[in-house]
Symmetry: C2
Subunit: 352 residues, 2 copies
């Protein structure tokens, strides 16, 4: 499979990518090499990684606890202390091996350690492969606020090896599929059609095209001034829903994809009211998404709490909530202001 | 006084600089403007700042406790939460008004909030004026390790207004003088001569020339690959001494300048043994520095603890401690490896 060239680094695919990492290590004479894992990727992914990476160098493992709940500054402090205690310096390399928590937090940790050391991302979930491989976003949560702290920083290289997907359960594969649907709706309808027809079979092709799309978008607009905002489709309301379910003690948490799936249905509905997206297309979107995701009944009494989360969205400016909506498939409009009543209506449409 | 153009932003001097800040604010349409102070600069500097800044905009004050001991992630979390609670978003501006703790921490906080908001630095101590005005270094301490966490990020503008120096006591003025001496020894001997003759009288001229030098150095070598390393002269051992005194409960802390002053005498001595700096010039350096700083008798039994701090210096690679030493005035050599015995000898030379 081809390599995709991101702004300042390559994204390598499948088995041959490890040779590129071996070369990077040999060429750069790193003083120490750290591998950041969680308890799951240590068990399920690290053995394959070790087997494929051909180096005589000593690798120093740093393990953190899995889960979004640990994507915070306390975990960063633990990792920074571990790097320090294990002799890390400015010429160290950090390899992240895991899902979005590991790659987002690891990139942030590396970029701030002694004002920046090199890092390599090896996403092991479908979500992190299609979402976090390119774009240079690193970040952690501040209390309940997702990715409130972070910065733009590019890895030296990304490795996408779909063998790691075998370690995931169905629900995690579904979670990543939401981002692929997003690329389909906003940028390449044929990708959406493929999902409609085949769900997430032929996953390799879906991943490659998703990374390609994300890369085109990010190269065109690295700092999220216009085009890159399409990547937020479904995410404005989706993030608020995700945070609400994460923080509510009596509710089961949703995966990122489950929340974004709801967000995309609702934001499609908003699009049909405020813009030109036909209600038939909204129905097509809803039907396709609900063929993959179970419907979550959102309680009426929870609507106002979800709206409160929306008000803290990173993308808000001057207290106004900004949505990116669709005029049509592959045709978007950024910075749409949506009245609260319509947001509530859209949740009712989802429930209906 | 002229403006100095740093890599991507101007350094303005004295009263006229506030007009530039007023313009920046008017031009950028910031959604919210925060001013970061500590209890000292709130009382001593903020009234002047308010008087000079000509804006009808509402300024939101965020106050942190003064002192290096607070230059840590806990303080960052407090500031990030305050910014969030006060409605900060991606179009907010953070103005830092204070010494190195405020400007270093504030720059870090701004650069990581929602992946980066604009900031303006207004250093109010001599040290932060001559050292932190240019160079783009932001950072905080991790436990006892100074500036272990941070990144390179440039403010929109820096304002150097020496009226704020009237709020400082003599010991703080002395502290900043060490950096001016450093510029003199490594880059412009006439600056050192002026200190030798007049100490820190004519402070305006000393500040302007120091910022000019630092800017020339940083523009030539932004990422500290070669020339910029001269800025570490006196700092390798100096930082270790500073950390040791800060952490020792039974010892009075040293100011940064007091520690760097000792570091410069010791590293000059090392230079005379390993390179060509004559012992007469070392004596001249020692005499000049001790005409400004009281001698601190460093106890023999503390030498090994100081060496331990040295081993954690950010600039170490592969466990080797790297010094920048002098062949002569204005003539340096980077990446010098110094044996431990010579480090100890240099401390004895300082004590003698």
């Amino acid at each position: 499979m081809k390599t995709i060239q991101a702004v300042s680094y390559p994204v390598h695919f499948q088995e041959e990518s490890y040779a590129a990492l071996t070369n990077l290590i040999a060429k750069n004479d790193y003083s120490t090499i750290f591998v950041l894992v969680d308890e799951n990727t240590f068990e399920a992914c690290y053995p394959r990684f070790l087997e494929k990476l051909n180096t005589s160098r000593d690798l120093k493992l740093i393990e953190i606890a899995s889960g979004e709940i640990n994507k915070n500054l306390n975990t960063c402090i633990k990792v920074w202390n571990a790097i320090t205690d294990l002799g890390g310096d400015r010429k160290s390399l950090l390899i992240t091996l895991g899902g979005g928590v590991i790659t987002d937090l690891g990139g942030f940790v590396a970029s701030c350690f002694k004002r920046g050391i090199d890092f390599v991302n090896i996403p092991t979930t479908l979500l992190s492969m299609v979402d976090a491989s390119v774009g240079g976003k690193t970040g952690i949560d501040l209390g309940v606020l997702k990715n409130q702290i972070g910065l733009f920083a590019n890895p030296q290289m990304v490795i996408v090896d779909d063998v790691y997907l075998n370690t995931l359960d169905e629900r995690e594969i579904q979670s990543g599929t939401a981002e692929i649907i997003k690329y389909g709706l906003t940028y390449d309808y044929s990708l959406f059609e493929q999902i409609k027809k085949d769900k997430y079979n032929n996953i390799n092709k879906l991943i490659f095209r998703s990374v390609e799309i994300k890369n085109e978008v990010v190269l065109e607009d690295p700092r999220e001034k216009y085009l890159r905002k399409i990547l937020n489709f479904g995410h404005t309301l989706g993030h608020a829903i995700e945070s609400f379910y994460l923080e509510s003690e009596d509710k089961k948490s949703l995966t990122h994809g489950e929340a974004i799936a709801i967000g995309m249905i609702c934001e499609s509905y908003m699009s049909s009211i405020l813009l030109n997206l036909s209600i038939e297309k909204v129905a097509e979107i809803k039907e396709t998404i609900l063929s993959i995701y179970n419907k979550i009944e959102i309680q009426k009494e929870d609507f106002s709490a979800i709206l409160d989360y929306l008000k803290h969205d990173k993308k808000n400016v001057n207290g106004q909530i900004n949505f990116v909506l669709l005029n049509d498939f592959e045709d978007y409009k950024i910075d749409c202001i949506v009245p609260e009543e319509l947001i509530i209506q859209s949740l009712e449409y989802y429930n209906s």
